[in-house]
Chain length 80, copies 2
């Protein structure tokens, strides 16, 4: 089963990488851009048939390793 | 308009960050994980009402700055 985890900074947490890209886009005359935020996407293949079980396992992975839950939120999505 | 750009390494391109996470997950006894790949997600707010025009502008941003098209693919998605 293919699972996609999106990890993004919580609202209010400063995103310097996003700010840098925003600035670079403005420099290249893409002035219509108002805000840029960067997120990580982790795409994994796991051996699990049950969707609920898979989501629970991946949530555990996020809590233990993948996300820094102090400053980041994560979303788990099953890729069809 | 909120636009999400997913930038991932092309197939066949080595992903050392993904490999490291895969290895770390196995060390933590998440043995059901078979493969991990990391992608970048760029979430931006742009001043544009027309979806087609917005997509074209963002594709241009990807070509010029956001993606390294030699090793990366990008997908543009309008967030509703």
């Amino acid at each position: 089963m293919k699972i996609i985890v999106n990890i993004q900074l919580k609202e209010g947490v400063l995103d310097p990488q996003g700010k840098a890209i925003h600035h670079a886009l403005n420099t290249l005359n893409f002035n219509e851009v108002n805000d840029v935020r960067i997120a990580k996407q982790i795409v994994m293949q796991i051996d699990e048939i049950d969707e609920e079980k898979a989501k629970k396992r991946v949530a555990k992975m996020c809590e233990e390793l993948l996300a820094n839950t102090v400053i980041e939120n994560y979303e788990i999505e099953i890729a069809k």
